[in-house]
């Protein structure tokens, strides 16, 4: 296990260098013309802003040197200053707790509803519950968030005001409940399908037949032997999902006016605030890498065949 962790950490360093390099390259992949103007899009860049950007991105240095500056700054948690004058790091850390809360609600909803429904549907494959959930999940998967979120807000925030329709800054758990559930809906559907497939496949596995032949109660056969093996793909899905939810849900956060990472990214993109965009994306890459690392470690805990590879 120790060797596995060490190897996985070394891999992560390589992936970190690779991904940040790609992110950095893409930022200046605007092609011909003024790189600073490319960063800002179509908005005019004032002389002061130009000087600030030049200083932050070391435009007078060769490309690799610039990347090296960017990397060391990133590791020192120095993400530069926003065009509004505030340190980017502060902007991110201010919003991160809200996004984390929102993501937690969504993941919790996914785990509780997705896995429970998936296990039931998997055990009674072809039954009424299975068929109903199949239809419902297909419908949910088919609706994009841009439609689902406003409908949810209209129904449960305005028509029947069970939940607040929008959030304050900073948002409370209660305010994040409705957007969290809506955000989780999509992954509920996927988690459910995944659990169902995994459970029904494992139910037919040879080792389940063995467990039954040992005369242990059916509850235990399913709860221990089937579930433990079915969890392996689900954990992967949940982990990756958590990683991408950390990136903030741009649409949901916009609709419910939640001041999270997604909102920050949206605003800085539309304002052409390049330092914020670059900094946020870089941090998100790291967050995603960490989420993946956790998934891989959990994977090894759940499946001994990987641990002793």
């Amino acid at each position: 296990m120790f060797r596995y962790i060490v190897r996985r950490l070394l891999q992560m360093i390589l992936v970190f260098i690779g991904t940040t390099f790609i992110v950095f390259t893409l930022m200046f992949a605007g092609g011909e013309g003024d790189p600073i103007q490319n960063l800002a899009g179509e908005r005019p860049v004032s002389a002061i802003q130009r000087a600030q950007l030049e200083q932050q991105f070391h435009f007078n240095d060769p490309f690799l040197t610039r990347y090296w500056h960017y990397l060391t700054d990133l590791l020192n948690l120095d993400l530069g200053t926003s065009l509004t004058g505030r340190p980017v790091w502060d902007l991110i850390t201010e919003r991160f707790p809200t996004t984390l809360m929102l993501a937690s609600i969504a993941i919790l909803v996914t785990i509780v509803f997705g896995i429970t429904a998936g296990v039931i549907a998997g055990i009674r494959r072809g039954g009424i519950f299975d068929n109903i959930t199949l239809v419902v999940t297909l419908i949910i998967i088919g609706i994009p968030t841009v439609v689902l979120a406003p409908i949810g807000q209209l129904l449960f925030g305005i028509k029947w005001p069970i939940f607040p329709a929008t959030a304050n800054n900073p948002a409370t758990w209660y305010e994040l409940l409705l957007p969290g559930i809506i955000l989780g809906m999509l992954s509920v559907a996927t988690a459910m399908r995944l659990t169902r497939a995994s459970v029904s496949e494992n139910l037919r596995a040879d080792f389940v037949r063995t467990a039954r032949s040992k005369g242990i109660p059916r509850r235990r056969v399913i709860g221990v032997h089937v579930l433990r093996n079915s969890l392996i793909p689900i954990v992967t899905f949940i982990g990756v999902e958590l990683g991408s939810l950390m990136g903030g849900a741009i649409i949901t956060e916009r609709i419910f006016n939640i001041t999270g990472i997604g909102n920050l990214l949206y605003k800085s993109l539309s304002l052409g605030d390049a330092p914020v965009v670059v900094g946020t994306v870089s941090v998100l890459v790291v967050v995603f890498l960490i989420a993946n690392l956790i998934v891989d470690l959990l994977y090894a805990v759940l499946d001994p065949r990987i641990r002793y590879e």
């Binding site: 032949s213 040992k214 433990r228 001994p304």
Partner: protein, 342 residues
């Protein structure tokens, strides 16, 4: 065939430990109903070994799974028959009572131990699971007993390997783990479903020896399911040969090897490779086992039988009693025994 141990023939006494009576099993599939077991009867006396022989799809494993009560129903259905254990019908028992029989009275080992063992739990955990959940043993006691069981099946350094996972064992050792697990509750009957098929030849012999020794030392009855005639000669007392969901011949080992009373058995015996037949082509039984969704009329074996006559194509042969517990489901069983069938 050399060196066959002659065993006294066992006659059905009505006091068998386990008795399958006129069992029917069918599978309901999208393509129709496959009748996989069509009136199978056999019995097992305490402490003896019955070999059930047949090709893949002959129904030998399905019968065993019906005895264990681990058939998936649906798609399987048991429209008729009885399975008596110590005189009690397992098929009409409550599920809870039936569960108590599994593992404790009758236990089973499977073909491929790698897939039959749970990949995510250590072997000690898996062996001791029954002891913890059913015998109410503490975790520590159950693990100690698991080490004893692993010693019993001759796994070297059992104590050190208790926390290892199935994939860390060799094929032979994995099958030993499987056996140790099946023996945990001291069963009276052990069903071994092709226990050596997935193993190397040398390891096969070791596992068969182990099973033979354990059966004798623990005084269990054993049902040995196999398609390998070579495997059964040394360990079995009686043989039941299955074809297309029926028992086509039943006899004690010595008689069956010497004078097969069914053309299918004869074909199986002829297709055993021998050292003295070097250079000649290996005999085979022509054709394939029947599709049980559309079984042939008459005797299910007639399309492949070299003696097939008109009556074989129209009439299903009854199981003929040839005396001394010997039966054959062939219209010409007597002629086969006399050697007059052409």
């Amino acid at each position: 065939m050399t060196d066959i141990q002659v065993q006294p023939g066992h006659v059905p006494t009505g006091h068998a430990l386990l008795e399958v009576k006129n069992l029917f099993v069918e599978f309901h599939t999208r393509d129709g109903v496959a009748r996989v077991i069509n009136g199978v009867s056999y019995h097992l006396n305490p402490g003896e070994t019955l070999a059930v022989l047949g090709e893949s799809g002959s129904g030998k494993s399905v019968t065993a799974q019906a005895i264990m009560g681990i058939l998936d129903m649906p798609p399987a259905k048991i429209p008729g028959g009885e399975i008596l254990y110590k005189g009690e019908n397992l098929l009409t028992m409550s599920e809870e009572k039936r569960r108590q029989v599994r593992g404790k009275e009758i236990s089973m080992i499977f073909q491929d131990a790698l897939s039959a063992l749970n990949p995510v739990f250590p072997v000690g955990w898996q062996i001791s699971e029954t002891l913890r959940t059913r015998a109410g043993m503490s975790k520590k006691d159950a693990l100690a007993r698991a080490v004893e069981l692993m010693d019993l099946v001759k796994i070297p350094a059992a104590k050190a390997r208790i926390k290892d996972y199935p994939h860390q064992f060799s094929g032979g050792m994995r099958q030993r783990v499987m056996i140790a697990m099946a023996l945990a509750m001291d069963p009276k009957v052990l069903i071994a479903d092709e226990p050596t098929t997935a193993l190397d030849v040398t390891v096969q012999a070791q596992i068969m020896d182990l099973l033979g020794d354990l059966r004798r030392d623990l005084n269990m009855g054993m049902i040995l399911i196999t398609h390998d005639l070579g495997v059964v000669a040394d360990v079995a007392d009686r043989i039941a040969v299955m074809y297309a969901g029926r028992i086509v011949e039943h006899a004690n080992v010595h008689e069956l090897y010497k004078h097969p009373a069914h053309p299918y058995t004869e074909g199986l015996l002829d297709s055993i490779p021998r050292l003295d037949s070097k250079g000649t082509e290996l005999a085979t039984i022509k054709g394939l086992p029947p599709n049980l969704l559309r079984p042939p009329t008459g005797c299910a074996f007639h399309p492949r039988c070299r003696y097939a006559k008109d009556v074989c194509r129209t009439d299903v042969p009854a199981s003929l009693n040839l005396g001394n517990g010997r039966t054959s489901a062939c219209h010409f069983a007597k002629e086969m025994l006399d050697g007059t069938l052409r």
